[in-house]
Amino acid sequence: MYSAEEPLLRVKDLLLHFRAKRGIVQAVDLVSFGLDRNEAVVIIGESGCGKTSMARALLRLLPRNVHAYSGAVELGGLDVMKLPEERFRREIRWLRMAMVPQAAMNALNPVIRVGEQVAEPAVVHQDLSRNTALDRAREMFQLVGVPDDFVNRYPFELSGGMRQRVALAMALVTSPDVILLDEPTSALDVLTQANIMNQLKLIKWEMGMSFVLITHDIATSSELADRVAVMYAGQVVEVADNTGFFSEPLHPYSEMLMASVPRLRGDEEPGFIVGQPPSLIDPPTGCRFAERCPHRHDRCSEEPPVFGHNGRSVKCWLYEKGWS
């Protein structure tokens, strides 16, 4: 599920299972996708599909109850999964792969000035002096659209949109290769959301930044996506480029999810998907979407492999015999 040339980030068969009281939770189950330089890949999925666990698995930010953790995460050809923890912390996390976690705007330290907080990764990871790092923080503030004299403010003095921008500045300050954005705009208002998406586009175009954007909001995801990966019940069920995906989603789940988006322009009535995703503790053995799928047939009790064609891939038996 990745392009033929050497991509910037290549995730192959990433797996993360947790231990829970009632059994093993297969939160991320053999996820593969790729990301080229200066590209944004969007991971679309509903709550509980494992998209946040996937982001944490990429950055190795794991809780204690991990049952299994494996796969390959190649960053510029280097498989960072093989690195020892200390080297990963020192050389990869934040320096080459940074993250804006969900609700980051509420995660700022309330008693430290926001400028100091943005400068900190540069001090820790790049050994910059405090003053150089603060200058760098000022540059980042301008880049994300916050007046640079805000460095001396405390989080409570900023609005939600401004705090979200500060969290983004914190991820940018070390100039990483890839930034993971976990639902970066979901708690924000419509206009603020559009503003931040604009800012992300500019950062991508002007700095050549690469993004992994995790979201449940399909309309907003189309603002940044070059490529789309759809997750369902811990697995990636479809990978496609943006034009292909938004004009013709192939997997039945992608198709129904797309049809459930209410549109401001256009008259088609939105639909919905009956039923619920399966439990990740004991998922069905065949296709995990089969129970809710209108195209279900006998074959679906067997787990479908990934069928690929023209840079698109789909995990569904409908595409076994090729593409219509």
């Binding site: 944004a40 509903e46 709550s47 609005s159 939600g160 949109g161 208002d189 419509v190 206009l191 603020t192 959301q193 559009a194 503003n195 998406m197 604009n198 586009k201 500019l202 449940h216 909001d217 399909i218 309309a219 907003t220 995801s221 189309s222 603002e223 940044l224 996506a225 070059d226 943006n242 034009t243 995906f245 938004f246 004009s247 129904m256 999810l257 797309m258 459930s260 988006v261 209410p262 549109r263 401001l264 322009r265 256009g266 009535e269 939105p270 639909g271 919905f272 998907i273 619920q276």
Partner: protein, 343 residues
Amino acid sequence: MAAVTNQVESLISASGNGRGSSLLSVQDLRVWFELRRFGFGHAGYVRAVDGVNFEIGTGQAVAVVGESGCGKSTLMRTILGLNRPTRGDVVFDGRHVKDLSRAEMRAYRAEVGYVQQDPYGALPPFMNVRRALREPLIVNGIRVESEQSERIHKVLGEVKLTPVPEYLPKYPHMLSGGQQQRVVIARAMILGPRLIVADEPVSMLDASVRVEILSLLRALQQEHHLAVIYVTHDLSTVRYFAERVMVMYAGQIIEQGGVDAVVRNPLHFYTQALIDATADPDASNAATCRDVPPGEPPSLVRPPEGCRFHPRCPARIDGLCDVEEPPTFEPEAGHSTACWRYQ
């Protein structure tokens, strides 16, 4: 009362019960919260709702659209009788809500159902579905168990939580978000209200179930001839739910009209901005930036002079928009806006 009836006459709405067509009338409503400095000393007011007028007829579905902090939740809480108006009034079926006694207030709340934003937060975690639905019945004096049971079965059937006996013993954490929201809707419906206030009822739910819940609310609204106020920040869902929409900005309604008229031909620049900022899924979105007005909504403690949107408005008329508050103009029949460009 006479004035109310006059206003009512001008409304286009179906009258189902012969009591006149206006069910709810909000008249020059202002809800201000006082700010204090360290216990005493006065620091001003937060003008959360500042001069709002509208009418809703029996059986009408109306949407209120606005960003967080624009006063839409305060407005709803005032309609529900949870906040007292500072000035102006809410009149429900001829009764002034702020003058109701405790007993009258209880009767009023039986007629107005409330669907909260976060279903998990709205349902007590220690009450199963049966208990959560019995609560409003007990409070309103329906104590005969057979009648309780009959009502609970009927309402759960209406929100399509069937087979009913399967859901009765379940606790909120055992239900999905969509199912929890159905229980909340059932609870709002169980006393047979005439008005439902739904405050962002689907914003916490997944995309694939949002439409399902909205269609359910829509079906209930039509079947029971309910008036519904649907509060949302998401313009794209409004078209599927309401006939009329009101756009709020900084404590005031700046535009209202039929949904199609407002979406296709917005009059106020703020409405235009909301529409421009709302994306439909399309690959071409990634290639261009959206046109978004600069700045953020103003402080409600010291709102700007004149039109509250003027500091962000590309078409402001200097010497007018920044001096005098615009009254409401009605350039098209049934479609009005508070903007000086239409005087």
